[in-house]
């Protein structure tokens, strides 16, 4: 306790020198917490949007389905059993049929993923209600990325060509009835959504599907023969790994930032121990052991981080709170690599994040303060009193 009292008194006495170090360290606090908050916010938003738009409470995949293998897509379909149809009626599942196709916007050839979905489904946020059609036209909805890339607008007709279950090519025109906006590129980029029933007729796969998406409430509804259940952990792997990669990338900035702050503390400590030899000797003469003086100097260094945490709280909390409310607008095209990322990310801060970051900075500062302070224990007190140590 005495060490804290004296360290506080020493730091307050050192005035500008102390506050410069404290300010640099507080910047590290705020930037680290902000960056981690952005990553957290992105993670939360990406998971939430992916669940809402794409994976619901989990998915049953037809056992041959492999989204990364284009050669098996056409074989990845199976009839839906009565039990599955019952679950669909009860809105626990919604089926999706996937086939490869090509689209000819303005005469160009574009590969697409043609997906049939129930227009009346309520499990996903896809605006499938637009697919309700009472004539022979094939209504289609697409995401705005696909619309932009193919220069399509609502009301446009575009030719698509596909192969049916027998391998026979067929083609027809679809009408773009709606263009939706989503933060989840996998339901947008290169995907054309049409009514399931029409899709099944087009490819001659009546009552068949590739994926059965569970509602968030239902989740795993028990094993279904020929179908494999994929839970959130599996389906969100890409997001998780991308966030981890981003976190690791962010760590480089933390290390640089922390190194600068720690260098300032280390420098201050080394300089202090050199300049304050007489003070060290005086403390010993007044009755402190060398160990106690080492503790005093270590606490003094470490206390920079406590003051920095207080300063960071003073200007950081309003700053981060404001930022969390207005969000961080991402540059256009940030999500073109296919990961769910919103136009605006709202950083998410948690108590664990703040406490964890504070502890990391506190522990690092203490270690950095202790290393030069150890030198005090090797000092000869009589030389220290006279400031004779070189």
């Amino acid at each position: 306790m005495l060490a804290f009292k004296l360290a506080y008194r020493n730091l307050m006495g050192a005035r500008l020198r102390t506050w410069l170090n404290v300010f640099v360290l507080s910047l590290s606090f705020v930037v680290i917490i902000w960056f981690k908050g952005v990553i957290n916010g992105w993670d939360l938003q990406a998971r939430r949007d992916t669940i809402d738009w794409q994976i619901g409470g989990g998915q049953y995949w037809q056992e041959n389905y492999d989204p990364y293998d284009p050669f098996s897509i056409d074989d990845s379909h199976a009839p839906m059993s009565d039990a599955v149809l019952d679950a669909i009626k009860q809105e626990k599942l919604t089926p999706m049929l996937i086939s490869q196709a090509t689209m000819y916007p303005e005469g160009r050839i574009q590969s697409i993923s043609l997906r049939g979905v129930n227009p009346d489904q309520k499990i996903l946020e896809l605006p499938t209600a637009y697919l309700v059609s009472e004539n022979d036209e094939i209504p289609a909805i697409i995401g705005e990325r696909t619309a932009r890339n193919n220069k399509l607008t609502v009301g446009d007709y575009v030719t698509i060509r596909w192969r049916d279950v027998n391998g026979t090519f067929d083609a027809d025109e679809v009408k773009i009835v709606h263009i939706f906006k989503t933060d989840v590129p996998p339901v947008d980029l290169g995907v054309v959504w049409i009514p399931l029933e029409k899709h099944q007729k087009m490819v001659q796969m009546p009552n068949e599907a590739t994926i059965l998406t569970s509602s968030k409430e239902a989740g795993f509804i028990g094993p279904i023969p020929d179908w494999e259940f994929k839970n959130h952990y599996f389906l969100l792997t890409e997001i998780r790994e991308m966030i981890e990669v981003k976190s690791i990338g962010g760590s480089v900035y933390f290390v640089i930032l922390m190194s600068l702050a720690m260098l300032a503390i280390f420098d201050t400590q080394v300089l202090s121990i050199f300049r304050r030899q007489k003070e060290i000797g005086t403390h010993i003469a007044l009755g402190m052991t060398q160990g106690q003086v080492v503790t005093l100097f270590t606490v003094e260094g470490a206390m920079h981080s406590i003051l920095a945490a207080i300063l960071a709280a003073i200007y950081g909390i309003p700053l981060l709170a404001y930022q969390a409310s207005v969000g961080w607008t991402m540059p256009a095209g940030t999500d073109d690599f296919g990961l769910a990322i919103a136009e605006t990310i709202y950083p998410a801060y948690s108590l664990g994040l703040v406490v964890g970051s504070t502890l990391i900075v506190l522990i690092t500062t203490t270690i950095v303060s202790y290393i030069p302070a150890r030198r005090i224990s090797k000092m000869n007190p009589t030389d220290a009193i006279r400031g004779k140590i070189q």
Partner: protein, 233 residues
Amino acid sequence: MKNGQLITIQNLVKDYPVGRGYFRALNDINLTIGKGEFAGLVGPSGSGKTTLLNIIGSLDVPTGGEANVLGQSIGSLSTRQSANLRNHHLGFIFQTYNLLPVYNVFENVELPLLLLKMAKDERHNLVDQALDWVGLQDKRKSRPAQLSGGECQRVSIARAMVKSPRIVLADEPTANLDAKNSHNILQTMEKLNQELKTTFIFATHDDKVIQYLHRKISLDDGRVVNDELIDKQ
């Protein structure tokens, strides 16, 4: 401790390593110092007076012989025990004052009491009393950089005296002061010695200090060459 003797030194030797050999700073020192003495270790530079003062202050240890301070053998004390001895019973006054620059006068004087873990009220009363002794109440909020050399040394005396130590060790306390300030300082210390019966031991070669001493222990080349009581009547 016999008959009020606070310090007993017998056959004391102190060597410092120099190259492959050693330099003998103190050689066969024998002396005793009693309660309430106002004594000085006097001699030219290099005579060993500061070394002897440091050993008495348990800041250094003898190479041979025995230095017994307040019943404790300096050579056999652990780091903690010697710190404890300094903390409770010894006060130091340095040539260059050694005040903590970031503390004000009050805080500098308070520091030894903080180390003694004394209660706040008691601490503040004692600091006030010490500042009264040295006449620096009006400077209590000043920092050392705002004080003259004489004032700094008075703060240093207050810091040494605030815990009412049994022995005060002063190493060249007037070396950085002019004649007027030197006399002021010495008069203050003499008054405290008489009123509080605190033992003062100086290491000095300053005639201004020597004229105030009640006992002059002369050292030369690491040996006591003369030890005389000075009649102040």
